[in-house]
Amino acid sequence: MGLLDKEFSDGNIVIAKVDDLMNWARLSSIWQLGFGLACCAIEMMATSASHYDFDRFGVIPRNTPRQADAIIISGTVTLKMATRIKRLYEQMPDPKYIISMGSCANCGGPYWEHGYHVLKGIDRVIPVDVYVPGCPPRPEALLEGLLKLQEKIRNESLRKKIA
Protein backbone atom coordinates (compact mmCIF):
# COMPACT_ATOMS: atom_id res chain seq x y z
CA MET A 1 0.00 0.00 0.00
CA GLY A 2 1.32 3.38 -0.88
CA LEU A 3 1.48 6.05 1.75
CA LEU A 4 -0.95 8.17 -0.14
CA ASP A 5 -3.78 5.72 0.08
CA LYS A 6 -4.71 7.01 3.47
CA GLU A 7 -6.55 10.26 3.69
CA PHE A 8 -6.54 12.43 6.78
CA SER A 9 -9.74 14.15 7.70
CA ASP A 10 -8.41 17.19 9.51
CA GLY A 11 -5.53 19.22 8.28
CA ASN A 12 -2.89 20.38 10.69
CA ILE A 13 0.49 21.93 10.40
CA VAL A 14 2.35 18.63 10.48
CA ILE A 15 0.35 17.23 7.62
CA ALA A 16 0.77 20.42 5.67
CA LYS A 17 4.55 20.20 6.02
CA VAL A 18 4.58 16.51 5.20
CA ASP A 19 2.44 17.34 2.21
CA ASP A 20 4.97 19.84 1.00
CA LEU A 21 7.81 17.38 1.35
CA MET A 22 5.95 14.56 -0.36
CA ASN A 23 4.77 16.77 -3.13
CA TRP A 24 8.25 18.09 -3.62
CA ALA A 25 9.57 14.55 -3.94
CA ARG A 26 6.91 13.57 -6.44
CA LEU A 27 7.18 16.64 -8.59
CA SER A 28 10.96 16.55 -8.66
CA SER A 29 11.17 13.05 -9.89
CA ILE A 30 8.55 12.49 -12.55
CA TRP A 31 9.76 9.47 -14.45
CA GLN A 32 8.04 9.17 -17.74
CA LEU A 33 7.10 5.96 -19.41
CA GLY A 34 9.45 5.78 -22.35
CA PHE A 35 7.24 5.14 -25.26
CA GLY A 36 6.30 7.14 -28.28
CA LEU A 37 3.36 6.93 -30.56
CA ALA A 38 3.82 9.19 -33.54
CA CYS A 39 5.31 12.47 -34.68
CA CYS A 40 5.19 13.98 -31.20
CA ALA A 41 7.41 11.16 -29.94
CA ILE A 42 10.26 12.62 -31.93
CA GLU A 43 9.74 15.98 -30.28
CA MET A 44 9.57 14.19 -26.96
CA MET A 45 12.93 12.60 -27.73
CA ALA A 46 14.26 15.99 -28.73
CA THR A 47 13.08 17.28 -25.38
CA SER A 48 15.02 14.57 -23.60
CA ALA A 49 18.09 15.24 -25.73
CA SER A 50 20.90 17.64 -25.04
CA HIS A 51 19.31 20.78 -26.39
CA TYR A 52 16.33 20.87 -24.06
CA ASP A 53 17.27 18.25 -21.48
CA PHE A 54 14.31 16.85 -19.62
CA ASP A 55 16.70 15.52 -17.02
CA ARG A 56 17.06 18.99 -15.54
CA PHE A 57 13.62 18.52 -14.04
CA GLY A 58 14.41 15.01 -12.91
CA VAL A 59 12.49 13.46 -15.76
CA ILE A 60 14.05 10.30 -17.07
CA PRO A 61 12.43 7.69 -19.30
CA ARG A 62 11.74 4.32 -17.72
CA ASN A 63 10.78 1.60 -20.11
CA THR A 64 8.55 -0.39 -17.89
CA PRO A 65 5.23 1.00 -16.71
CA ARG A 66 5.86 -0.41 -13.24
CA GLN A 67 8.57 2.15 -12.56
CA ALA A 68 7.02 5.11 -14.31
CA ASP A 69 5.13 8.00 -12.75
CA ALA A 70 3.88 9.81 -15.79
CA ILE A 71 2.90 8.78 -19.23
CA ILE A 72 3.23 11.22 -22.07
CA ILE A 73 0.76 10.35 -24.79
CA SER A 74 2.88 11.56 -27.64
CA GLY A 75 0.87 11.31 -30.78
CA THR A 76 -2.16 9.94 -32.48
CA VAL A 77 -3.95 7.23 -30.57
CA THR A 78 -5.62 4.76 -32.83
CA LEU A 79 -8.39 2.45 -31.80
CA LYS A 80 -6.04 -0.48 -32.08
CA MET A 81 -3.55 1.22 -29.75
CA ALA A 82 -6.05 2.67 -27.29
CA THR A 83 -6.70 -0.65 -25.60
CA ARG A 84 -2.97 -1.14 -25.15
CA ILE A 85 -2.51 2.32 -23.71
CA LYS A 86 -5.26 1.65 -21.26
CA ARG A 87 -3.48 -1.48 -20.18
CA LEU A 88 -0.18 0.35 -19.80
CA TYR A 89 -1.92 2.95 -17.71
CA GLU A 90 -3.39 0.29 -15.50
CA GLN A 91 -0.01 -1.30 -15.03
CA MET A 92 1.46 1.86 -13.61
CA PRO A 93 1.49 2.19 -9.83
CA ASP A 94 -0.29 5.10 -8.20
CA PRO A 95 0.23 8.05 -8.03
CA LYS A 96 0.36 8.41 -11.78
CA TYR A 97 -0.08 11.29 -14.14
CA ILE A 98 -0.91 11.73 -17.79
CA ILE A 99 0.32 14.41 -20.11
CA SER A 100 -1.54 14.47 -23.38
CA MET A 101 0.91 15.82 -25.92
CA GLY A 102 -0.23 17.24 -29.20
CA SER A 103 -3.53 17.83 -30.90
CA CYS A 104 -4.02 14.21 -31.86
CA ALA A 105 -3.92 13.00 -28.29
CA ASN A 106 -5.99 15.95 -27.13
CA CYS A 107 -8.85 15.66 -29.56
CA GLY A 108 -7.92 13.76 -32.69
CA GLY A 109 -6.08 16.67 -34.24
CA PRO A 110 -6.12 16.80 -38.02
CA TYR A 111 -7.67 13.36 -38.06
CA TRP A 112 -10.81 14.34 -36.23
CA GLU A 113 -13.18 14.20 -39.17
CA HIS A 114 -12.28 11.37 -41.46
CA GLY A 115 -10.13 9.33 -39.13
CA TYR A 116 -12.15 6.16 -39.01
CA HIS A 117 -9.47 4.47 -36.97
CA VAL A 118 -8.36 7.36 -34.79
CA LEU A 119 -9.45 7.83 -31.22
CA LYS A 120 -10.55 11.42 -30.90
CA GLY A 121 -8.80 12.29 -27.72
CA ILE A 122 -7.05 10.05 -25.25
CA ASP A 123 -9.30 11.36 -22.50
CA ARG A 124 -11.98 9.04 -23.81
CA VAL A 125 -9.92 6.19 -22.44
CA ILE A 126 -7.79 7.44 -19.56
CA PRO A 127 -7.92 10.58 -17.42
CA VAL A 128 -5.60 13.37 -18.48
CA ASP A 129 -3.82 15.82 -16.19
CA VAL A 130 -2.25 18.24 -18.61
CA TYR A 131 -3.03 18.94 -22.24
CA VAL A 132 -0.22 20.30 -24.38
CA PRO A 133 -1.48 21.79 -27.63
CA GLY A 134 0.43 21.86 -30.88
CA CYS A 135 1.01 19.70 -33.88
CA PRO A 136 3.57 18.73 -32.80
CA PRO A 137 4.17 20.86 -29.70
CA ARG A 138 7.60 22.37 -29.55
CA PRO A 139 9.88 21.02 -26.83
CA GLU A 140 9.38 24.27 -24.97
CA ALA A 141 5.67 23.60 -24.97
CA LEU A 142 6.20 20.16 -23.55
CA LEU A 143 8.43 21.62 -20.84
CA GLU A 144 5.68 24.08 -20.06
CA GLY A 145 3.27 21.18 -19.82
CA LEU A 146 5.61 19.50 -17.39
CA LEU A 147 5.82 22.64 -15.26
CA LYS A 148 2.04 22.77 -15.21
CA LEU A 149 1.97 19.19 -14.02
CA GLN A 150 4.46 20.06 -11.29
CA GLU A 151 2.22 22.91 -10.26
CA LYS A 152 -0.67 20.53 -10.08
CA ILE A 153 1.28 18.09 -7.93
CA ARG A 154 2.44 20.89 -5.68
CA ASN A 155 -1.17 21.60 -4.74
CA GLU A 156 -2.06 18.03 -3.93
CA SER A 157 -2.73 17.13 -0.35
CA LEU A 158 -3.08 14.18 1.95
CA ARG A 159 -6.11 15.85 3.44
CA LYS A 160 -9.53 14.68 2.45
CA LYS A 161 -10.88 16.81 -0.30
CA ILE A 162 -13.70 19.04 0.80
CA ALA A 163 -16.43 18.87 -1.76
Binding site: M1, G2, L3, L4, D5, L21, M22, W24, A25, R26, S28, S29, A49, S50, D53, D55, R56, F57, G58, I60, R62, N63, T64, R66, Q67, D69, Q91, P93, D94, P95
Partner: protein
Amino acid sequence: MYQFLYNLIGNEILAGLLVAVVPLTIILVFALFGIWLERKVSAHMQDRLGPMRTGWHGWLQTVADLMKMLQKEDIIATDADKTLYNIAPVLVFSGSFAAYAVIPFSSKLLGSEVEIGIFYVLAISSLVVAGILMAGWSANNKYSLLGAMRAVAQIISYEIPTALIVLSMVMLTGTLSLDKISQMQTSSFWNWNIFGGAIFGLSKFLLIPFMFIGALIIFISTLAEVNRVPFDIPEAESELVAGYFTEYCGMKWGMFMLAEYGNMFAVSAIITILFFGGYQSPIGYFGNSISAQWLVPFEQGFWFIAKGLTLVFVQMWLRWTLPRLRVDQLMTVCWKYLIPYAFLNLIIIGIISLL
Protein backbone atom coordinates in the same frame (compact mmCIF):
# COMPACT_ATOMS: atom_id res chain seq x y z
CA MET B 1 35.61 -1.86 15.58
CA TYR B 2 33.35 -4.60 16.92
CA GLN B 3 35.85 -5.35 19.64
CA PHE B 4 36.02 -1.72 20.58
CA LEU B 5 32.26 -1.38 20.81
CA TYR B 6 31.95 -4.64 22.67
CA ASN B 7 34.35 -3.42 25.26
CA LEU B 8 32.46 -0.17 25.47
CA ILE B 9 28.93 -1.58 25.74
CA GLY B 10 29.47 -5.05 26.94
CA ASN B 11 26.60 -6.52 24.97
CA GLU B 12 27.32 -8.66 21.94
CA ILE B 13 24.08 -8.10 20.08
CA LEU B 14 23.97 -4.38 20.62
CA ALA B 15 27.58 -4.03 19.56
CA GLY B 16 26.90 -6.11 16.48
CA LEU B 17 23.93 -3.98 15.50
CA LEU B 18 25.85 -0.79 16.06
CA VAL B 19 28.65 -2.06 13.86
CA ALA B 20 26.15 -2.96 11.18
CA VAL B 21 24.90 0.61 11.11
CA VAL B 22 28.21 1.81 9.78
CA PRO B 23 28.22 -0.08 6.47
CA LEU B 24 24.50 0.57 6.10
CA THR B 25 25.09 4.29 6.36
CA ILE B 26 27.96 4.07 3.97
CA ILE B 27 26.04 2.06 1.39
CA LEU B 28 23.02 4.36 1.59
CA VAL B 29 25.04 7.52 1.38
CA PHE B 30 27.08 6.10 -1.42
CA ALA B 31 23.99 5.00 -3.34
CA LEU B 32 22.46 8.44 -2.95
CA PHE B 33 25.65 10.05 -4.10
CA GLY B 34 26.40 7.43 -6.74
CA ILE B 35 23.05 7.72 -8.49
CA TRP B 36 23.34 11.48 -8.54
CA LEU B 37 26.91 11.20 -9.78
CA GLU B 38 25.87 8.81 -12.51
CA ARG B 39 23.25 11.20 -13.75
CA LYS B 40 25.56 14.16 -13.63
CA VAL B 41 28.45 12.32 -15.24
CA SER B 42 26.25 11.02 -18.03
CA ALA B 43 24.69 14.43 -18.51
CA HIS B 44 27.96 16.24 -18.79
CA MET B 45 29.32 13.63 -21.14
CA GLN B 46 26.29 14.15 -23.31
CA ASP B 47 26.37 17.91 -23.43
CA ARG B 48 23.53 18.23 -21.00
CA LEU B 49 23.21 19.48 -17.47
CA GLY B 50 21.44 16.70 -15.69
CA PRO B 51 19.26 17.32 -12.63
CA MET B 52 19.26 21.00 -11.76
CA ARG B 53 16.08 21.76 -9.87
CA THR B 54 16.57 19.96 -6.58
CA GLY B 55 19.13 21.84 -4.61
CA TRP B 56 22.53 22.93 -5.86
CA HIS B 57 22.99 21.19 -9.22
CA GLY B 58 20.28 18.79 -8.22
CA TRP B 59 22.20 17.17 -5.38
CA LEU B 60 18.95 16.21 -3.66
CA GLN B 61 17.70 14.43 -6.75
CA THR B 62 18.17 10.93 -5.39
CA VAL B 63 16.53 11.89 -2.12
CA ALA B 64 13.51 13.04 -4.08
CA ASP B 65 13.58 9.84 -6.11
CA LEU B 66 13.69 7.67 -3.03
CA MET B 67 10.94 9.59 -1.27
CA LYS B 68 8.82 9.32 -4.35
CA MET B 69 9.41 5.60 -4.53
CA LEU B 70 8.27 5.25 -0.94
CA GLN B 71 4.99 6.84 -1.91
CA LYS B 72 4.36 4.58 -4.86
CA GLU B 73 1.75 1.89 -4.87
CA ASP B 74 3.20 -1.57 -4.48
CA ILE B 75 1.86 -3.77 -7.22
CA ILE B 76 2.27 -7.50 -7.13
CA ALA B 77 0.92 -9.21 -10.20
CA THR B 78 -1.73 -11.83 -9.55
CA ASP B 79 0.27 -14.54 -11.20
CA ALA B 80 3.50 -13.72 -9.44
CA ASP B 81 4.96 -16.07 -6.85
CA LYS B 82 4.45 -13.71 -3.95
CA THR B 83 6.89 -15.14 -1.43
CA LEU B 84 9.82 -15.25 -3.79
CA TYR B 85 8.81 -11.96 -5.29
CA ASN B 86 9.02 -10.26 -1.92
CA ILE B 87 12.19 -11.98 -0.74
CA ALA B 88 14.20 -11.33 -3.89
CA PRO B 89 14.94 -7.60 -3.46
CA VAL B 90 15.83 -8.13 0.20
CA LEU B 91 18.19 -10.92 -0.70
CA VAL B 92 19.86 -8.94 -3.43
CA PHE B 93 20.27 -5.96 -1.18
CA SER B 94 21.52 -7.95 1.79
CA GLY B 95 24.01 -9.71 -0.46
CA SER B 96 25.65 -6.49 -1.44
CA PHE B 97 25.22 -5.00 2.01
CA ALA B 98 26.88 -7.94 3.73
CA ALA B 99 29.95 -7.56 1.59
CA TYR B 100 30.57 -4.22 3.26
CA ALA B 101 31.02 -5.94 6.62
CA VAL B 102 34.63 -6.84 5.95
CA ILE B 103 35.75 -3.95 3.81
CA PRO B 104 38.35 -1.91 5.70
CA PHE B 105 37.62 1.74 5.08
CA SER B 106 40.56 2.68 7.21
CA SER B 107 42.72 0.94 9.75
CA LYS B 108 40.20 1.79 12.47
CA LEU B 109 36.94 1.61 10.54
CA LEU B 110 36.09 -1.89 9.52
CA GLY B 111 33.09 -3.92 10.50
CA SER B 112 34.68 -7.25 11.17
CA GLU B 113 38.30 -8.29 11.17
CA VAL B 114 37.65 -11.74 9.80
CA GLU B 115 40.75 -13.51 8.64
CA ILE B 116 39.06 -14.83 5.50
CA GLY B 117 37.68 -11.48 4.35
CA ILE B 118 38.16 -11.85 0.62
CA PHE B 119 36.77 -15.36 0.66
CA TYR B 120 33.76 -14.12 2.55
CA VAL B 121 33.13 -11.38 -0.01
CA LEU B 122 33.22 -13.84 -2.90
CA ALA B 123 30.88 -16.17 -1.07
CA ILE B 124 28.37 -13.65 0.17
CA SER B 125 28.06 -11.87 -3.13
CA SER B 126 26.71 -15.10 -4.60
CA LEU B 127 23.54 -14.39 -2.67
CA VAL B 128 22.87 -11.75 -5.26
CA VAL B 129 22.63 -14.43 -7.93
CA ALA B 130 19.98 -16.30 -6.01
CA GLY B 131 18.07 -13.09 -5.47
CA ILE B 132 18.17 -12.19 -9.13
CA LEU B 133 17.01 -15.61 -10.21
CA MET B 134 14.16 -15.41 -7.72
CA ALA B 135 13.20 -11.98 -8.98
CA GLY B 136 13.17 -13.08 -12.59
CA TRP B 137 11.33 -16.29 -11.96
CA SER B 138 8.72 -15.10 -9.54
CA ALA B 139 7.57 -12.09 -11.55
CA ASN B 140 6.07 -14.40 -14.15
CA ASN B 141 7.17 -12.17 -16.94
CA LYS B 142 9.12 -13.44 -19.92
CA TYR B 143 11.41 -10.45 -20.07
CA SER B 144 12.20 -10.86 -16.38
CA LEU B 145 12.93 -14.51 -16.88
CA LEU B 146 15.21 -13.90 -19.84
CA GLY B 147 16.98 -11.18 -17.91
CA ALA B 148 17.42 -13.38 -14.86
CA MET B 149 18.79 -16.27 -16.89
CA ARG B 150 21.23 -13.96 -18.58
CA ALA B 151 22.23 -12.42 -15.28
CA VAL B 152 22.86 -15.72 -13.59
CA ALA B 153 24.87 -17.11 -16.48
CA GLN B 154 26.87 -13.95 -16.62
CA ILE B 155 27.57 -13.48 -12.93
CA ILE B 156 28.54 -17.07 -12.32
CA SER B 157 30.81 -17.16 -15.35
CA TYR B 158 32.55 -13.97 -14.46
CA GLU B 159 33.13 -15.07 -10.91
CA ILE B 160 35.73 -17.50 -12.22
CA PRO B 161 38.21 -14.96 -13.58
CA THR B 162 37.57 -12.78 -10.54
CA ALA B 163 38.31 -15.65 -8.24
CA LEU B 164 41.43 -16.59 -10.18
CA ILE B 165 42.87 -13.13 -9.89
CA VAL B 166 41.95 -12.98 -6.25
CA LEU B 167 43.68 -16.31 -5.83
CA SER B 168 46.86 -15.04 -7.39
CA MET B 169 46.81 -12.05 -5.09
CA VAL B 170 46.24 -14.25 -2.08
CA MET B 171 49.17 -16.37 -3.23
CA LEU B 172 51.34 -13.33 -3.46
CA THR B 173 50.36 -11.77 -0.17
CA GLY B 174 49.84 -14.95 1.76
CA THR B 175 46.70 -13.80 3.51
CA LEU B 176 42.96 -13.75 2.99
CA SER B 177 42.38 -10.81 5.26
CA LEU B 178 41.55 -7.62 3.45
CA ASP B 179 42.93 -5.55 6.28
CA LYS B 180 46.27 -7.33 6.19
CA ILE B 181 46.50 -6.96 2.43
CA SER B 182 45.92 -3.26 2.88
CA GLN B 183 48.51 -2.96 5.61
CA MET B 184 51.14 -4.60 3.46
CA GLN B 185 50.96 -1.89 0.83
CA THR B 186 51.88 0.93 3.13
CA SER B 187 54.03 4.06 2.94
CA SER B 188 54.14 4.82 -0.80
CA PHE B 189 52.32 4.02 -4.00
CA TRP B 190 55.43 2.15 -5.10
CA ASN B 191 54.46 -0.51 -2.59
CA TRP B 192 51.02 -1.06 -4.02
CA ASN B 193 50.39 -4.48 -5.37
CA ILE B 194 49.91 -3.16 -8.85
CA PHE B 195 53.61 -2.25 -8.68
CA GLY B 196 54.54 -5.63 -7.35
CA GLY B 197 53.88 -5.05 -3.68
CA ALA B 198 56.21 -4.16 -0.86
CA ILE B 199 59.05 -6.37 -1.94
CA PHE B 200 62.34 -5.45 -3.49
CA GLY B 201 64.55 -6.84 -6.16
CA LEU B 202 64.10 -8.44 -9.54
CA SER B 203 60.84 -10.23 -8.85
CA LYS B 204 59.09 -6.90 -8.22
CA PHE B 205 59.90 -5.72 -11.70
CA LEU B 206 58.97 -9.08 -13.18
CA LEU B 207 55.62 -8.86 -11.41
CA ILE B 208 54.60 -5.42 -12.60
CA PRO B 209 53.30 -6.34 -16.10
CA PHE B 210 51.37 -9.31 -14.76
CA MET B 211 49.89 -7.19 -12.04
CA PHE B 212 48.63 -4.76 -14.63
CA ILE B 213 47.07 -7.62 -16.58
CA GLY B 214 45.55 -8.97 -13.42
CA ALA B 215 44.08 -5.60 -12.47
CA LEU B 216 42.61 -5.23 -15.93
CA ILE B 217 41.05 -8.68 -15.86
CA ILE B 218 39.53 -8.23 -12.46
CA PHE B 219 38.19 -4.81 -13.44
CA ILE B 220 36.53 -6.21 -16.55
CA SER B 221 35.09 -9.22 -14.80
CA THR B 222 33.76 -7.26 -11.86
CA LEU B 223 32.23 -4.85 -14.34
CA ALA B 224 30.34 -7.82 -15.69
CA GLU B 225 29.45 -9.03 -12.21
CA VAL B 226 27.71 -5.79 -11.38
CA ASN B 227 25.99 -5.70 -14.77
CA ARG B 228 27.46 -2.50 -16.07
CA VAL B 229 27.83 -1.55 -19.72
CA PRO B 230 29.22 -3.07 -21.88
CA PHE B 231 28.03 -6.10 -19.94
CA ASP B 232 24.61 -4.86 -18.90
CA ILE B 233 22.75 -7.42 -20.96
CA PRO B 234 20.65 -8.72 -18.05
CA GLU B 235 18.85 -5.42 -17.88
CA ALA B 236 19.52 -4.35 -21.45
CA GLU B 237 17.01 -1.57 -21.72
CA SER B 238 16.54 -1.73 -25.45
CA GLU B 239 16.08 -5.48 -25.52
CA LEU B 240 14.54 -6.69 -22.31
CA VAL B 241 12.76 -3.52 -21.19
CA ALA B 242 14.35 -3.63 -17.75
CA GLY B 243 15.52 -7.19 -17.34
CA TYR B 244 14.86 -9.09 -14.15
CA PHE B 245 13.28 -6.17 -12.32
CA THR B 246 10.80 -5.31 -15.06
CA GLU B 247 7.84 -6.06 -12.82
CA TYR B 248 9.11 -4.42 -9.66
CA CYS B 249 7.84 -1.05 -8.64
CA GLY B 250 8.29 1.43 -5.85
CA MET B 251 10.79 0.76 -3.11
CA LYS B 252 11.31 -2.88 -4.02
CA TRP B 253 12.79 -1.71 -7.24
CA GLY B 254 14.61 0.92 -5.24
CA MET B 255 16.33 -1.85 -3.31
CA PHE B 256 17.62 -3.36 -6.52
CA MET B 257 18.89 0.03 -7.45
CA LEU B 258 20.60 0.54 -4.08
CA ALA B 259 22.11 -2.92 -4.35
CA GLU B 260 23.42 -2.18 -7.81
CA TYR B 261 25.14 0.97 -6.71
CA GLY B 262 26.29 -0.67 -3.52
CA ASN B 263 27.86 -3.42 -5.60
CA MET B 264 29.53 -0.91 -7.82
CA PHE B 265 31.36 0.54 -4.88
CA ALA B 266 31.99 -2.84 -3.28
CA VAL B 267 33.81 -4.23 -6.31
CA SER B 268 35.74 -1.00 -6.69
CA ALA B 269 36.73 -1.33 -3.06
CA ILE B 270 37.92 -4.90 -3.57
CA ILE B 271 40.04 -3.86 -6.55
CA THR B 272 41.38 -0.95 -4.56
CA ILE B 273 42.39 -3.21 -1.73
CA LEU B 274 43.90 -5.88 -3.91
CA PHE B 275 45.83 -3.63 -6.26
CA PHE B 276 45.78 -0.01 -5.28
CA GLY B 277 46.88 -0.08 -1.71
CA GLY B 278 43.49 -0.14 0.01
CA TYR B 279 43.27 2.71 2.46
CA GLN B 280 46.95 3.50 2.28
CA SER B 281 47.93 6.94 1.19
CA PRO B 282 50.14 7.10 -1.88
CA ILE B 283 52.21 9.95 -0.45
CA GLY B 284 52.41 9.37 3.26
CA TYR B 285 50.24 10.79 6.01
CA PHE B 286 49.83 14.36 6.97
CA GLY B 287 48.84 13.26 10.47
CA ASN B 288 52.18 11.52 10.97
CA SER B 289 54.20 14.48 9.85
CA ILE B 290 52.51 16.85 12.30
CA SER B 291 52.47 14.03 14.87
CA ALA B 292 48.70 14.04 15.19
CA GLN B 293 48.10 10.30 15.09
CA TRP B 294 44.32 10.64 15.43
CA LEU B 295 44.23 12.21 11.98
CA VAL B 296 45.63 9.16 10.22
CA PRO B 297 42.49 6.98 10.14
CA PHE B 298 40.53 9.87 8.68
CA GLU B 299 43.12 10.37 5.99
CA GLN B 300 42.99 6.68 5.29
CA GLY B 301 39.23 6.87 4.93
CA PHE B 302 39.60 9.74 2.54
CA TRP B 303 42.10 7.89 0.38
CA PHE B 304 40.03 4.75 0.33
CA ILE B 305 36.90 6.51 -0.76
CA ALA B 306 38.77 8.61 -3.29
CA LYS B 307 40.29 5.53 -4.88
CA GLY B 308 36.98 3.71 -4.87
CA LEU B 309 35.14 6.62 -6.42
CA THR B 310 37.77 6.94 -9.11
CA LEU B 311 37.11 3.38 -10.14
CA VAL B 312 33.37 3.98 -9.95
CA PHE B 313 33.86 6.96 -12.20
CA VAL B 314 35.70 4.80 -14.70
CA GLN B 315 32.78 2.38 -14.63
CA MET B 316 30.40 5.23 -15.39
CA TRP B 317 32.67 6.57 -18.06
CA LEU B 318 32.60 3.21 -19.82
CA ARG B 319 28.86 2.97 -19.33
CA TRP B 320 28.21 6.15 -21.26
CA THR B 321 30.72 5.48 -23.99
CA LEU B 322 30.38 1.91 -25.11
CA PRO B 323 27.58 -0.05 -26.73
CA ARG B 324 26.51 -3.31 -25.22
CA LEU B 325 27.70 -6.80 -26.08
CA ARG B 326 25.48 -9.68 -27.03
CA VAL B 327 24.95 -12.57 -24.69
CA ASP B 328 27.07 -15.06 -26.61
CA GLN B 329 29.87 -12.55 -27.14
CA LEU B 330 29.82 -11.88 -23.44
CA MET B 331 30.37 -15.54 -22.73
CA THR B 332 33.10 -15.65 -25.36
CA VAL B 333 34.94 -12.83 -23.65
CA CYS B 334 34.76 -14.66 -20.37
CA TRP B 335 35.53 -18.24 -21.30
CA LYS B 336 37.84 -17.75 -24.24
CA TYR B 337 39.85 -14.77 -23.12
CA LEU B 338 39.55 -13.81 -19.48
CA ILE B 339 39.73 -17.25 -17.90
CA PRO B 340 42.77 -18.50 -19.86
CA TYR B 341 44.62 -15.26 -19.28
CA ALA B 342 43.70 -15.32 -15.62
CA PHE B 343 45.01 -18.86 -15.33
CA LEU B 344 48.20 -17.95 -17.10
CA ASN B 345 48.57 -14.97 -14.83
CA LEU B 346 48.06 -17.17 -11.80
CA ILE B 347 50.76 -19.59 -12.89
CA ILE B 348 53.26 -16.90 -13.80
CA ILE B 349 52.72 -14.98 -10.59
CA GLY B 350 53.15 -18.24 -8.73
CA ILE B 351 56.46 -18.92 -10.44
CA ILE B 352 57.72 -15.40 -9.91
CA SER B 353 56.79 -15.38 -6.26
CA LEU B 354 58.76 -18.59 -5.82
CA LEU B 355 61.88 -16.95 -7.20
